[in-house]
Each structure stands twice: as C-alpha cells, then as structure tokens.
Amino acid sequence: MPVSQNKAIVQRYIEAVWNQRQLDGIDTLFEENYTIHQNGQALAINREMLKQSIRTILSAFPDFHMALDSLVAEGDRVAAYWINSGTQTGELRLPDMPQSAPPSARTTTFAESALFRIAADKIAEVWYVSDRLSMVQGLGLISWAAR
C-alpha cells in the first residue's frame, strides 16, 4: 500500500467525515471493529460508536472544525497533528465528567495528535493524544494557572 493512499485515507477522515459532516464515510474508511488507544488504555470500538461520538461532539460544537497541520506516513502508519476548534452552543458531556456542561457560547481551541495504523485500505487501530486540558479550560470548566 503506497503511503500516499494511506495519507489520503486519514485526510478524508478529517476533511470529509469531520469537517464536511459526511459520517457515512466512516463505513469505507474504518474497519467495522477496531481499537483505539487513549491515556494508555485500549478500547474496542466499531463504526457506529465512532459516529455516535462524533454526533456528541457536533451537538455540543455545531461549528467544530479540524485544521490539519501535519501528516507523516511510513509503512502502514500515518501520524497526524491537527488543531480542533469549536464554539460550545450545545450541552456537552465528556466521558469523565460527572454531569453535562450547559452551553457556554465559548470557543475552545486545542491540539490533537493521532497515529493511525491502516490495513487493507481501512483504519484498523488509532492512538490518540488530545489536549483536553486546553479544551476544558477554554470552556471555563476548570481553572489552571500555567506553571
């Protein structure tokens, strides 16, 4: 698999699925069942769970946008770095929040990195690191004085 095709798969995930809200694109870009790694934990998920989590984000941030900054591809892996931004005009519930946050009308900007493993033209495994502290701070959910 040429690395250029693998990069195109990741670009479509960010540009078509997220930025153009073409959630059905997930069916061709991802394996039905795949694994994500976040905070050192592995989680088995599937296409429908991914669509649901994107809908959750978009309902909290209807203008959510990913600005792709960098792609590095080698072999079956693609590393990506992008900047998320969105205005929280809807209710937000994060997995580790005890209750949902009411609309704040605040705009938050935060960086995200991911490493995708691609097998037979489909995303099969993803490692994510998201700057969630900047996100929740931008929404006024937590206060943190820089060191």
Binding site: V72, E112, L133, I142, A146
Partner: protein, 150 residues
C-alpha cells in the same frame, strides 16, 4: 539532509542518552540553537511556543523535580522526509516536590505523541501533545473529575 533512519537515531539518542540519562550535553549536541517547540496552550504558559535546547532541558528538569525516577520509552517511530513522528510513554513515581505540589507517591504514566522536524542535521522543531489533563490529575495538581462551571 539527514536520512529518515539518521533522524530516528537522533530521536532515540535524545530520549535514551539525553532525557533518560539526564545528560544535557547530548541534548545540546542534538538540538539546534534555533529550535522551536510547539506545546499545548495551557501547559506552555508562553503562547504555545518555546525556543532553544534550554527550553527542552527546562521541561526535563520540571518532570525530574516531580518524578525523579522518570523514564521514557518510545513505542513507535514513523518517519518521512524531514520529519519523525513518535508515540511514547513516560513513567515513574511522583516522589519529588515542587512549590505548591506535594508529592502523591503515585506511580504515574503519561502517554504522548510528538512530531519532530530536522534541519541541518539537528532537531529543529517539535509539535508535542501530552494530555496535560491526565498528567496533572495523576500528579494531584487538579481534581480527578472536571466539574462544570457553577
């Protein structure tokens, strides 16, 4: 221009012989004087960028002050052109004290991703993402559960 394999070798040396061995001479050798680091906004406290090898040494001193036995393991390196992306794990025991942050004694484990750019045979630029929310929660610096605003 250095090759991808040479660039990966520089990254391995940076972490194994530099960061893990607490050897600032290796960092000075590998990192360009005009190095630029891009950080998550909150942690940086300096508009999201830092400059020079000394900024990387300051980061290592900051971690070592809280987690004196910290050790970084590289889990995957992906290289192309003038860049190497990697994911790593930094772990240790939170036994050291910095002002305002008493040691928790916790075993801590931070997962992160970075992309490095190379120029002139040196590390020239870095984009780092280290989930500071999880990091600071493990260090007891912020509450485990972010509470919605009142």
């Amino acid at each position: 221009m250095t090759t991808v394999e040479e660039n990966k070798a520089m990254i391995r040396r940076f972490y194994e012989e530099g960061a893990n061995a607490r050897n600032s001479a290796v960092i000075t050798e590998l990192v360009a004087p005009e190095f630029i680091g891009h950080y998550p906004d909150v942690v940086a406290g300096f508009s999201g960028t830092s400059q020079g090898p000394e900024s990387l040494m300051r980061d290592l001193e900051f971690i070592a002050a809280m987690v004196p036995d910290f050790r970084t393991t590289l889990e995957d390196l992906v290289g192309a052109g003038d860049k190497v992306a990697l994911r790593g794990v930094t772990q240790g025991t939170h036994t050291g004290q910095i002002p305002g942050v008493p040691p928790t004694g916790n075993a801590v484990r931070f997962t992160w991703c970075a992309i490095y750019r190379f120029a002139g045979g040196k590390i020239a630029e870095r984009w780092l993402n280290d989930d500071a929310l999880s990091t600071f929660q493990q260090l007891g610096m912020i509450p485990p559960l972010p509470q919605p605003a009142n």
